[in-house]
Symmetry: D2
Subunit: 310 residues, 4 copies
């Protein structure tokens, strides 16, 4: 997770934020609709120009955001919501649209980012745990080793965090991509949001990959089509809010109510620096991560069963 | 962990807070000193009257707070700070003073509170993992089953959280205490602090047990001498700050700089309720918990080697 | 897990073994049938006399064994077999027959035995992880806190192994039962089998509880109706074979082919003692435990939804 | 772990086995001595010819075996034996001899092989957990980012097992080596032994890398100097014995006592195939893995502090 480096990892929020300040925006196409029967709101943000990318602090590309209020709700069986298969099917549909079109079997490498030892950052490793992996069957037994339904051949890596590997995740993924030559990469990651209300109930799918640090510039450590040479789909769910963001947002709301000078004077009395490297997360994050990762894995496994016209 | 129920689990902070408001306090004895050679500040707060207990929202008793700036620092060997044995010895010394004095071998039940699946709440289970447990050796082989150094006979339980057990932790501990008749209980728990600066570097040792919810009243679920019939020592380390506390504190600091009406008007614009059940914790909480639990376990194991004069 | 103390924890195998030696047996009633539509064989062994109990090394009572060849098979979705809901329903049916009949809501304590840090012994803790627990809702909100379907009120404890707790599991469970007064206990445990062919595909349900060490005598550490005062249902799945058993069985088979003297002489050359505390288990035990625990938890959750005629 | 593919992963055992059959051997140099002060026996087996490699089923190279009876013993503090620092220093000494000599700072990639979810196979991931990793500090801050003592720059990967990654471990390591260009690789793995007496108390260090399947031939999936282009040191500790091996060895011992025909006839009655994919391991494997991994990590961290003459 790109903890704290961006105040939001969600294009949706970046747009809202910028909109508040600037009004209408050129180079940003937004399409919103609701799927009432499954309780999901879909927002598609397309960033089409360099300028709008700079403004939003997000690379050019397509960002699909699904808001699923009961994604983190417990179903009656205690594990997943009743709705979760329908939500998984919806996610799978958007994924398939972003994946490259190919006549023969597509090979996809899934990358589970994050730290499996920190609950709020363990989404990637948790999803990886539940995936149907098939590449080794193809390698060993050829097409006969695959089940009928396996339209997409899959491999998966959980690279671990830099403090434990000593390597940039981008280096690890780049090396594995060169050696095993997949057609596309799907990256799963926990995200930071601006708002506690979005935590664990929003899914962002984009074709822009992952850009630690700022979204624009500093491409050395990006995991995207430019650095890997193949399409990179990123799937993320916000699980934390930067602690400083929460305080800053509270102050901002007060600002509107106060005189400028009084506010600035007062703001200086609040030491945001003490919140450096602190994050806000939910109390029941462990069971939430389990449920969300289960639904995402289901969505991916559905996707991998996509049948190509041969 | 008593997540969010109290804005602080530290007697030290309760006193500071009350002091700011009320000045000097009757029924509260405070003793502060520094152990420079090991970089530890010790504060002993004694709450001696019912009134002062009510004022601070903490039960009567003794609270020893050790502030250890490098408790969460990494030593050169990557695991624990060089200093950790000296810190463990210091903790052990205070523990021994709070344990009941007895001529023959003392039997102690250690209770590791918290949720092992939530990093910031896993301190109790993590400490339990490293303890030297001896009661079963005594039961099976008698005194011959013990090593020379085992002055205190130990047993240990990690009860799990109510959402998974369906039982109050107090019920579980009470049942086990009645059945196995230890002389004292030591409870290990992660705490909430008011300040991010205290996270993972403060150790509180008290003889007042654990009181979920408010510190005074509601005794049904307390784990203390009154409910168990034997002394209960509590050891806690703050690992989280309530998210609402952080914003509320920021607002409070602004308050001093602003006119009353302007402030109240502005404050209402900030929706603290959205922070309900959210907590703030450090980014590197996983490695921190490992190191802190290692030092606490060392302190307990040192304590268990205490030799009684027979 | 009662590792190695008995060469088999399965009544089914005890009977087969004794039958080979003694032919027909008094005091043992056996009923066998197949449920072809779900691929399950059911064997019900009733031990009705003291003598037959002694002969089989198992306490008097009812033992239901379900043989489910695809219990440990991977379903197409990589997690559980297609069949698992039907198998869960079958298990649930037998469970309900062994549970006490009561007009009002039954309260059940589930005990997840075993060591969560040893894969082959982690079945009990893994099942506990997936259960719907409701007792705390009833305590806090009364009947209104329960969902309609919750016919059985549940609590759950994962006591841990003696080397880490210093206490007999029986002591811990006894204490908790006295304090929280359930109507019955369900114990989940990994078992030892005589045969690698039964590993991870056999489910034994009995109303005789758990008897570490030999099945008869030494009641001090038993978890059964005699020691707890309430019915104890035990659910077990064999996950290991004692290593010495495997070699001993191999030798026994050779015995039949060899002359007596030659065999005895030769047998002495094999040092079975080197196999003490060793066990045999399957290579893919981690994914197997996950799948089996998922099906057992489903069976229990189905059971807990039993509606009582009120 | 190369579970079951070889009946032994230890060169020591391969030599013993072959010696029993063939007597003296050309192309195999053996050097044995004891370090009584730390209770360690050292055996150095050098396989110098193609023929002797074929005979032993191990590639040409140097194999150092340390037998440490108390490697898996619990020290008084419950975690590691008193002796473990001295044992770590001994391991480190042998490691340094096998690492390439270089004037400037050496860069080493450590690979923790095995399945973190199967206790007996989790040695590699467990060692990786405790290592001092420094490469990212060098990348980010240059030489100033390193502590004085860091003579060897380290990175680390835990690739996971093929069933979960869909990739050969060799592919993953090859890709990362090409991308991050270390000077040498150290691979940590749990091994299979022929003898339960060697479990968890033998450490094998070799400069021949890892060869899944047979030791000779099938180089596609090897992790060695030939495939990676840089030296590969392998460190292994036997944690399991193949179940079929145990029975086969028991039969072999009987063989010597029996007439040929009688034996062959009898042997056919034993179905070794039922032991396919089963392994034998120790009951206390979880605490053993913890202690052994701690000592190995200490040995590696000592090695990484090696000072080069600059």
């Amino acid at each position: 997770m790109a903890f704290f480096q961006a105040r939001t990892d969600l294009a949706l929020e970046a747009r809202e934020y910028v909109e508040n300040v600037n009004g209408e925006l050129r180079g940003i196409i937004v399409d919103e609709y609701e799927k009432k029967e499954i309780g999901v709101s879909v927002t598609k943000v397309q960033i089409t120009t360099k300028n709008s990318a700079k403004l939003l602090g997000k690379p050019k590309g397509t960002y699909i955001t699904l808001e699923v209020p009961d994604l983190c709700q417990c179903g009656e069986n205690g594990d997943v919501s009743e709705n979760h298969e329908k939500v998984a099917a919806e996610i799978s549909e958007h994924l398939i649209q972003l994946l490259p079109q190919k006549k023969e079997k597509l090979q996809v490498l899934v990358v589970g980012l994050g730290n499996r030892d920190v609950t709020a950052d363990a989404l990637g490793p948790a999803v990886a745990e539940h995936l149907n992996i098939s590449r080794h069957m193809l390698q060993e037994f050829g097409r006969l080793g695959l089940e009928k339904k396996q339209g997409i051949i899959t491999s998966c890596i959980v690279p671990g965090v830099m403090a434990k590997t000593g390597m940039e995740t981008a280096e690890i993924v780049k090396g594995i991509v060169k050696e095993t030559t997949p057609d596309a990469v799907i990256v799963i990651d926990a995200l930071a949001s601006r708002s506690t209300k979005r935590l664990n109930r929003t899914i962002q799918i984009s074709n822009t990959g992952i850009h630690p640090g700022s979204g624009v510039g500093n491409h050395r450590n990006a995991i995207d089509e430019e650095t890997l040479g193949i399409p990179v789909i990123a799937i993320g769910v916000p699980t934390v809010v930067d602690a400083a963001t929460i305080v800053a947002d509270a102050l901002e709301k007060m600002h509107k109510e106060l005189q400028e000078t009084a506010f600035l004077q007062a703001r200086d009395s609040v030491a945001l620096s003490s919140l450096y490297n602190m994050y806000v997360t939910a109390k029941d994050i462990d069971s939430t991560i389990k449920r969300v990762s289960f639904t995402l894995a289901e969505a991916l496994n559905m996707t991998f069963e996509k049948e190509f016209e041969e």
